[in-house]
Symmetry: C2
Subunit: 478 residues, 2 copies
């Protein structure tokens, strides 16, 4: 697997810095292509996603969703409120009790070499790893280095905010004691998902403060409106269009007070910040190869860094800034590992499978709130701004038989954004309970640019929520 | 809307016999094309589906599914067993208390003329309706008659079976008093769905008797095996490979005894027969136009009857025998209504939207059991028999993060059947909880023949059950 070459360090065909799902996949695909690989990780192998993001947040949210579904179904009644302790225990299991042995084994089974420590570039094709015992271990890459370090939560410079030691997704998803009072800044995925989860698990006083005029501002307007309505109905205090002027937490573990620009203030036991993420490029040694490292590492469609001579540096996942979503990072990683292997092996490197086309079409995303928000492609606003000949149609999902059989009082809405010139879909949005796995139908339709005329022959089964497809296409005039 | 022409009867451009969802849609599409239409129905407008099949069965099954989901989720507990009375009340609401006023209004709003009574052909383009008061009302079609009479349950000639007055889907879905002991003959959709629903709602002793060696014999073998395992675990007695020799019910409302070919016998309070359905062609006057009326009415891809001169007769839905599924009947109806209008209006009648292509590709179908069985296209066995260059891959859905977050102990399996020659999918099967709306992704992929290489760029959101797509494509070698 590796060849020791004295003080130059161990040599691998590919060195991946970052062992989240993205880094793991890049290494695995490169090895599948016949290369050797090392994967370097300072923290837990498996990455943010496995321990502090996607996995624990969904473990917390699924019981909340299910309880809501039971509430919409006559004939079933829950014995009491959700047992938060049981849910947290299940979350602990889902994150493997923050033990990454299983992930390390996975990497070793690839087979790839796992190197625990802080990886930094030390010039072209060179990586230095500061291991947990403080030693520095040099590594050399024969062909490529892949940066897959992900992103860190952004904490804006609001006076008093940093001093208040706010929660990010990490503390929120790994919560052991649900605070009674929670104040959340930010109406994106993290802010919405964790506000709802923690509210349902015991944060009875939850306040969500959002600068913009709606939640989930990158989705179709009705999505954020429907989620806000659901939040308000469940007792979450949603405050839109409000800026935070300052935050005060005089006693480290004591209450925190948020002062808003309308003169009001919110006191809570914890403050959660979900105001975006920042590519994890700090302290990566990018300066040793002439990069400034102030923002995402720009890459081409094969994931190769565009500003680095000789084409040996790649960047995949959050750190390249394309789409900060685990599944898109993994997609990029598959491309990256394959393309490196193709280039090393002297095979064609320009096959369609070796080019990232999905990111620019608009990545699929699910917000696991109740209602769920599922979208792929462009919103109507974005598609229009980009100059497409847009035609959009909407329909109430609740009017579909499959939906009202699913739940009493089902509330949902769907939208198609079509390119009239080409007769294909540019974007699809579903908002409602239990639409999460309906999204992939839209992802296929948008990504593969299936003509509307052919979608017409894809008959949704009756009675399912999927019949919304028929209604939308009828609305479109088919 | 109509023109009276003396004793020749009222004249319409199109007369539809049968006001189920299929007949309703045929009329609506013809009217949308500028034609006048009458819809004739002897029983309830809305058809079998709305009152005695899809709708009530799903109203009964959804709480059962949801209760099972709660059982797989730590932190939630139901107060007690399902409240059958509440579920039956919700079912009654779902079937509009067997009142079809809403459906009649829907037809009149098309606008089309609703004629209540038994419709029979009386020669080319002529229909006679025997109205509820016994009068005979003649109708004349200017351009087309559409038969949309659906199907009836088949009751085989097992000695004593008819005399035992067995339940079909009608009695099972409209149950008011759930029998304590139920015996079901037949392991297809009706037999499986209703056995599970009634078992969960109080038929604690439920026995399912199946002639073949597995349930759901038209799907991939693992589907029926997984459903059988789930049934057995929940206490349903599944007997495979058994023939019924005779049935005895000495007292009309008393117990019924089923004698099997292994010498055993099963006593129950009711017997349900789900042994297929037969096109409803009896007493339709087909002999007046030279058809024998012994089987389905054969139609071409535009839904026009192939054995009738001058091309004025169409048949859509179960009665043409293509696929006995509501959604496929509705699909055929849209084509039929559109094609009749195109022909009357002298427009092209050979557009892709005017040809049924989906039926022969393999209709999508959902069996709403726990686990759900969702399939579209061809099984591996069928595709191989048809001579395709088949390559099939399978994967455990339970190994996907989105699935084990969805439910503890999630058990599911998925399969792709690909045509290696063309690099497209011929069939997809998903078995597991909560896969119902994942099916439409497969329906689009199969129907639109999306190349596997393009499906590779349709990235499933993480963590969702949809990620099974990624695993299957990886198994395939992408």
């Amino acid at each position: 697997m590796r060849v020791s070459v004295g003080d130059e360090g161990d040599v691998f065909d590919v060195i991946v810095i970052g062992a989240g799902p993205v880094g793991e996949n890049a290494a695995a695909r490169a090895v599948r292509g016949g290369l050797t690989a090392a994967v370097v990780e300072e923290r837990l192998a498996g990455g943010e996603c496995a321990y502090y993001a996607c996995i624990p947040s969904k473990a917390l949210l699924r019981p909340v969703e299910l309880a809501a579904e039971v509430g919409r179904m006559p004939g079933l009644e829950l014995r009491g409120p959700i047992d938060a302790a049981a849910v947290l225990a299940r979350r602990d299991q889902a994150v493997s009790y923050l033990d990454d042995q299983g992930q390390v084994r996975w990497i070793e089974n690839v087979p790839a070499t796992f190197v625990r420590g802080r990886g930094r570039l030390a010039g072209p094709l060179r990586v230095e790893v500061t291991t947990p015992d403080g030693a520095v271990r040099p590594l050399r890459a024969r062909h490529a280095v892949v940066i897959a370090t992900g992103s860190d939560p952004a904490i804006p410079g609001i006076p008093g905010l940093r001093e208040a030691r706010p929660w990010s997704n990490r503390e929120a998803t790994s919560v052991q004691q649900v605070p009674k009072r929670l104040v959340t800044l930010g109406g994106g995925a993290v802010g919405c998902e964790m506000s709802q989860a923690l509210h349902a698990l015991g944060a009875l006083e939850t306040t969500l403060i959002v600068r913009g005029d709606r939640l989930l501002s990158r989705t179709e307007p009705f999505a954020g409106e429907m989620v806000a309505r659901s939040f308000q109905e469940s007792g979450i205090d949603v405050r839109l269009g409000r800026n935070v002027e300052r935050v005060e937490r005089p006693v480290p573990d004591g209450p925190v007070t948020v002062y808003l620009d309308d003169g009001s203030q919110v006191e809570a036991d914890e403050i959660l910040v979900g105001l975006g993420r920042w590519p994890a490029v700090r302290d990566l040694g990018l300066e040793t190869i002439g990069l400034e490292g102030r923002g995402p590492i720009e890459v081409d469609a094969s994931m190769r860094a565009t500003d680095v001579p000789d084409g040996w540096l790649y960047a995949v996942g959050d750190v390249n800034g394309r789409n900060l979503l685990t599944h898109m990072g993994k997609y990029q990683a598959r491309i990256c590992g394959d393309v490196i292997a193709a280039r090393v092996n002297g095979q064609p490197d320009d096959l369609p499978s070796l080019r990232d086309t999905a990111d620019e079409q608009g990545a699929p995303q699910v917000i696991f709130t109740d209602p769920q928000v599922c979208a792929v492609g462009r919103t109507e606003e974005l598609a229009s701004a980009e100059g497409f000949a847009v035609r959009a149609v909407e329909y109430d999902i609740g009017a579909v038989s499959g939906a009202y059989l699913q739940a009493d009082g089902y509330v949902g809405r769907a939208k198609l954004v079509a390119d009239q010139a080409r007769g294909v879909l540019l974007g699809v949005t579903f908002v409602g309970p239990a639409v999460v796995d309906l999204l992939h139908s839209a992802t296929i339709a948008v990504t593969a640019e299936v003509p509307l005329e052919r979608l017409w022959h894809a008959v949704p089964s009756f009675p399912t929520v999927s019949e919304i497809w028929l209604r939308l296409l009828e609305e479109y005039g088919l």
